[in-house]
Assembly symmetry: C2
Amino acid sequence: MKVRTLAVIGATGAVGRIVLEQLEQRNLPIDKYVFMASKRTAGTTLEFMGQTYTVELLCPDAFAGIDVAIASTPDDVAKELVPWAKQHGTIVIDESGAHRMLSDVPLVIPEVNPHAIGTHKGVIASPNCSTTQLVVALKPLHDFARVRRVIVTTYQATSGAGTAGQLELTASLKASLAGEAFSPTIFQHTIANNLIPQIGSHKENGYTSEEMKMVYETRKILEDDSIQVCPTCVRVPVANVHSESIVVETERPISPEEARSLFQAFNGITVMDDLPSSVYPMPCNTDRRDDVLVGRIRKDLSSPNGLAFWCTSDNLRKGAATNAVQIAELLLCDKTALCGT
Amino acid sequence: MKVRTLAVIGATGAVGRIVLEQLEQRNLPIDKYVFMASKRTAGTTLEFMGQTYTVELLCPDAFAGIDVAIASTPDDVAKELVPWAKQHGTIVIDESGAHRMLSDVPLVIPEVNPHAIGTHKGVIASPNCSTTQLVVALKPLHDFARVRRVIVTTYQATSGAGTAGQLELTASLKASLAGEAFSPTIFQHTIANNLIPQIGSHKENGYTSEEMKMVYETRKILEDDSIQVCPTCVRVPVANVHSESIVVETERPISPEEARSLFQAFNGITVMDDLPSSVYPMPCNTDRRDDVLVGRIRKDLSSPNGLAFWCTSDNLRKGAATNAVQIAELLLCDKTALCGT
């Protein structure tokens, strides 16, 4: 019997470390693990399932014998590694934004569009963190009453910019409390005691790259280009967990009670909704969870077919590592999917 | 000639101190100032225009000889003091929420509805902080193309809960950085490294009191009950300055260029809008300003008549103290307004 080998690329990064945790917790049919990183951390060691591994250097030949690779890298690194992987027949689960919108790359959230995985040609993309939690929350509403319009405003954590983003928040907070000046290097402006209404670069029509990802990726995953999305993405001084204020219009109205039932019945969503008792999702009660949390479910007062709610998710987990490992699980436990190559 | 006397009530609070600063900067036709506070701080002294004043105790007789009082107090104190003021013919400019929605109380933003002041019967209300900046931004759009629908999501600073709110943020941040537990007393949950999607109490239909203020006060100030508002109010770990993500639908479309011109021409609004250069309003560049800042002006991608933008304002200044002092200015410099009593 063939030995199945899985590689984790970017294994020493903020998301990579959680990929390892997830792999330790889930029972994937894998016989051998390989860990890769760029020059900066290759050669260091890491612990995985009680064993010590040396992190290998990411290079073309490193893909020999690898069946599946989960890659948590910047876009430019992902673009470089995919041709190397293809040469060795390695299927890449790519968490970067490099391949998501390519027509021959399925963009997959296992709870939402598992069927899409079957069409892959060697690369399967995991969506942007802010899109994943939005689409998980939209899916049961879309199935029930067809989503027509989404207005979403985000509160995004600094961990979205990796370990460096988290470290900059801490350094910035310390400087702020000490009344000292701080020069940011990761974010465009000081993040402590501030909000930055820009994530990514200016893209088109006054929207940022992060915002346009939410527009295009939502349509691709829900397989409906007629869904209209108006996003506003904002960085907030929170270490981890993205939050979103969402107003959705559907073809026919959904009552808050119906929405609550739909959310509750959906795999991957937890409803936390009791305003009189001050119970709702927040970063502090979402951190280190793998599900998407929904609360403040209520009628949109401004539209007959509108519904308003609040949604949180650990952006390093469901927004990145957890979703990628779930894709690997789907791929390795579903033979038709593996035949896609 | 009669000596004109102005009282500042709640003079030692977070907003009261800024009322004093504003009065020092503006040349109001006032001959005598009186400062009042509750038992807790009455008897202390404060400096105003180079003189030392003793803070007097707020009580029924304290209104004798007072023409106008600017009151920065909680709702219950405001309800108690208005009858005392009326007995002495004192006009009260009330910053609390106690009287705003009463039909015989004008709710005034001087740049937006100065004419309303003429109808007062002894009490003029200043709007809630989150409403004021929203309505200032909506006014030029409403005049140009009639606002039909507003979806607003807030990022509200801890200073909205007074000095105690600001102190709790600092204490909570210190505990968070030290890895220590923190028990909040002002906010419902820990505010450091967190977001709280609840401001005020549960009011109706799953909305909070703060959110419903934005619905009702907006309609009253713009004198148009057909405006539909869907608000989501969220407390963020920022010391001062409220921010809002606003999507507005108008009767006929407004292009981003038209909106920019309308905002620029409006007294009290400053446009700060250059995304490619990472220039937009933020708490850090809005703190201690008296205007309302607008940026990220763009077409709402989800509606033909929609416009999206981002808006910040110092909630202690234009959201409270500055607006109240501007009302006093309007009242004292406009004889028809004074005849309203």
